[in-house]
Amino acid sequence: MAMKASMTRRSFVKTTALAGAAAAIGVSLSDSLVEVDPAYADEPVETKVVKTSCHGCIQMCPARATVENGVVTKLEGDPDAPVSRGSLCMKGLNQLHTMYSPRRVLHPLKRAGERGENKWEVISWDEAIEEAATHICDAIDKYGPYAFFASVGGGGSYSFMEAMTLPMAFGSPTVFEPGCAQCYLPRWSLSKLFYGGIDQSIADNAVQEIFRTGDDNKAEVVVLWGAQPSVSQTAESGRGMAELRAKGVKTIVVDPNFSPDAVKADVWLPVRPATDTGLLLAWFRYIFENKLYNEEFTKYWTNLPFLIDPDTKLPVEAKELFPDYVSPTPDNTPAYACFDARTNAVAPFPYSAPADSPVDPEVFWAGEFNGKTYKTAGQIYKEQADPWTLEHAEEVCWVPAERIEEAIKLYTGAGVAGIANGVASDMTESASQVPLGCMGLDSIMGYINKPGCTMTQYGAAGAPPTKRPVTYNNGFDGMFSDMYGIGAVVGMSPAENEARAKALGEANPQQKLANQLLIDRLGMKDHKGLYAWCHSHIPTVREAIATGEPYKPRVWFDMSGNKLAMLGNAKSWYEVFPEIDYIIGQYPMLTSFHIEAADLVFPVREWLEEPMVNMTQLNTQWLQNEVVHIGETVSHSIPAAQVIARCKEKWGGSLPGLVPGYIGNATEEEVKASVAETLHAPSWDELVNNTDTYVPYVTPPEEYWHYNQHETIVDDGLPAGFGTESRKVETYCQILIKLARTGYPFCYPEPQEACEDYSPICEFIEPAESPVNDDTDEYPFVLTSGRVPYFHHGTMRHAAFARELYPAPDVRINPRSAAELGIEHMDWVKVSSRRGEIHGRAYLTEGVHPGVVWMERFWNPECYDASVPEEKQTAGWRECNVNVLTKNDAPFNEVYGSYTNRGFTVKVEKSEKPDNIWVEPEQFAPFLPTLHSEPITKDVF
């Protein structure tokens, strides 16, 4: 390759003459570098292959990078990886270009013009940290800690823990990310509340069991419910799905779009967008009616036989109905009540192994006891599902009845099956109801903790239990629970929780502050499920910025990509930017968001530069290596850590928030040490010098894979059960009722104000904007979205080899609908919702229902390319960005406050290509890499 000839190697020593001219961003500052080594242009090519992991999406496939004289010239999948098996998809491969993209930000930038003008001044790191710290300190001194807020999300940045903890350090409760309630939090959090176990998401690496290799793979039927691994995580779980299907595993795909996984499915259920709850209830009804459920598991391992108090909606404990009853189990394991088929009477139902149960509980029963009418939880579910005949589901959800029946028979007829629940439902008002339904189905089928199903517990979380399982809350693995003494532990008795909170509070007086931050977090009264990740409710944050009520967030530290492409109803956010006094960003390039909003941008590393540990593939963990490093870029945790340290200095050595507060490394040395430790290497140097010794880190299979943990007898002589209040799978998710009323188990010991009760089971929700609910025919199509394999979230729109293949978003539309509108294949169309209008190209396909259109998120960095006349430049987020159309107002998902990214109504009209949008391959030449001759640089911090 031509790039080799001009390679030089210099040490990076910056002069002080940098400030001043507004620099073109990606252009090397080589004039201001002092060469301390002679150039090595004539040196022979030195080639090495470095083990690393891709970070083109969150699955992080192991990869190998070829480096020639300090320049990465080739990327390949690592064939030793057990699931990806050498695969590497386009998102990973194209890092070869984006690493050296002319769009890279290599130095700290300070805004030099007005917001939106895209004019920047290069400043030193010291100046940049001083700028950020000064604005934060001033705002907090003047308005108090709640003036600060943080955010993350959007792809290509990794600061989830950092964003969560950064406001804690400043004593502010406000942080959000466009994902969270709209991506994964509902499924992740509900699985903890539902059975104290691992969730059903493939994309987030939760589902691993079905990708076991060789004879260890026991999967028979996999249901992809609103997931498309072949597109979203192409090389890892996409490859895994290809291997599964080749092996003969049957698949069912629920997706309005004929995705590649739907194409390959044995049964495809093209559900009307956002009506999945109706389809789920049809499955429940059919399974109940035809007695296809696993009776023993449902009776003894779920809470469906429990009698529910009609007043409290909670299961009745045995002692409430039988005052003299003495439970044979410890206080942390309450006895409930059921209707006993043996005695034909209401009876106490103590926790035990199924064989030891004194009762034979009815799953479905309604009747009187002591003058009050009770129903079992199963009966309540049955009645909820009762209207949902296959025919009714066909009418509402647009899926042929016989197809639904075929799918249910395949799913229930298997020895083992499992549902993998994708992101789709998170982006709708039914964000909590769909996971309740998906896990609910697997629970009544007994597809839990068995080889071959999706709800299994593995790794540390699946280790054979020795005690009654409990579930910690607040943060990942409940990390903030012990740290600050907040949050109850599910599975402890009320007395144990009280004593624990008291002791932690005495040990750490910050418990009060931590608890107050929970209470004051924006949007928490109504959407208490957000507590699980300590995040705020996004529309409420926007409202607070706009109105100052109940307090005004004023200084924003964003830790990732293009918020304008990722946030629902982007225009509503653009409108409040002027209300925000100071906005700090960090990313490897400037996006629409940075141009329109940011006052200061920290340059961060691309994945070829940043040390990290990958997400794991099965029982193996891999290194994301520091393969190269150019410019003054830093690892993602460092800017905030440095800013916090500077603020602390300014405040005379203390911070207004929680201690430890921010969790994130402050120097590359710390980053590297922590990576080395995770991979069980004595030091970073040893790790990278002898990578093969430490990578992958393999947990022996017999220590990693475990099954039927709930049946293991533990120290109280009982089967372990599950980490829930009842010690059973709570298919009737009783704790959601308590959550709504007080914030329990998250907001504890001091409670949050009550809101309307949350539904503990799957219930049908007709989308707010839909052909059924709309009172106008102005918007005749239901729009939904889903990824394409070219991009991950907001990333890679500046990757020339991706964009030449997919220059503009397809608007998938049925040919019959298109014909009525006079639209032909690849015509430009305008898509409008009640919030705005954007453009895309019509892709005519029978893969969508005539009433549905499908479109993926997009933004266009070419709109501010230097080749576009300055007066015509835009920030590239209004042209083709589906999030101009999406709906960020009520109704929200009740538990998580999720707004509506999918399943709202639009109109489609023939149109013209917007200005500035590139569609011809050659137009993308300005995105081709230019930074190959950038010197390799040392760590900044």
Binding site: S87, T234, A235, G238
Partner: protein, 195 residues
């Protein structure tokens, strides 16, 4: 010796990663492609539809028209590997071969004024060890490389294991005898005779 690709369309999910793997490996210009992936379908009427993806690159024809028409011998069959290649030093850019190729898989390099096409990554494979970049990185394990005449090769084994009704070649109106094999079982979709 028939070194070529065998592509399992039951596995291929149309992710287009092979296109990019090829372009990065072979340093191909914007707008040029040595392999492309065609979505065949969906055919039928919603929701009773089917689809497959067809990756298309040099088919390594036994009777290669491109070699026959080349006036300079630039298009040739490599004796050692049996692979059809282009000697860029001999190519005069007349593009006869592009017209002769029944599958449209050759492209003209505007900068170098020569014709190019898939070499089966000969720089990786000529020594008999490596596989093409598209095969190595394929996200579905759908692409295989090897010698169809060697029963122990990945490609020969895959063809042997496939049901006869799942073994396809691109249409061959001119008796070019394309060596490349596509595996597509009727259960996934009916094979369409695309030209």
């Amino acid at each position: 010796m028939r070194n070529c690709l065998v592509i399992d369309l039951d596995r291929c999910s149309g992710c287009d990663s092979c296109i990019v793997a090829c372009k990065l490996e072979n340093n191909i210009d914007l707008g040029n492609y040595w392999n492309q992936v065609i979505a065949v379908g969906p055919t039928g009427t919603h929701p009773d539809i089917e689809q497959y993806w067809l990756p298309v690159q040099c088919q390594q024809c036994e009777n290669a028209a491109c070699v026959h028409v080349c006036p300079t011998g630039a298009s040739y069959r490599d004796e050692k590997t049996g692979v059809v290649l282009i000697d860029k030093a001999k190519c005069i850019g007349c593009q006869y071969c592009m017209m002769a190729c029944p599958y449209g898989v050759r492209s003209f390099n505007q900068k170098e004024k020569v014709v190019e096409k898939c070499t089966l990554c000969s720089h990786r494979t000529a020594d008999g060890e490596g596989v093409p970049a598209c095969v190595h990185n394929c996200c579905c394990g759908a692409r295989l490389y090897g010698d169809l005449d060697d029963p122990s090769s990945d490609v020969a084994k895959a063809v042997a294991a496939a049901s006869p009704d799942a073994v396809h070649h691109l249409p061959d109106p001119g008796s070019a005898k394309p060596a490349t094999v596509y595996l597509l079982s009727p259960k996934t979709a009916a094979w369409k005779e695309l030209v």
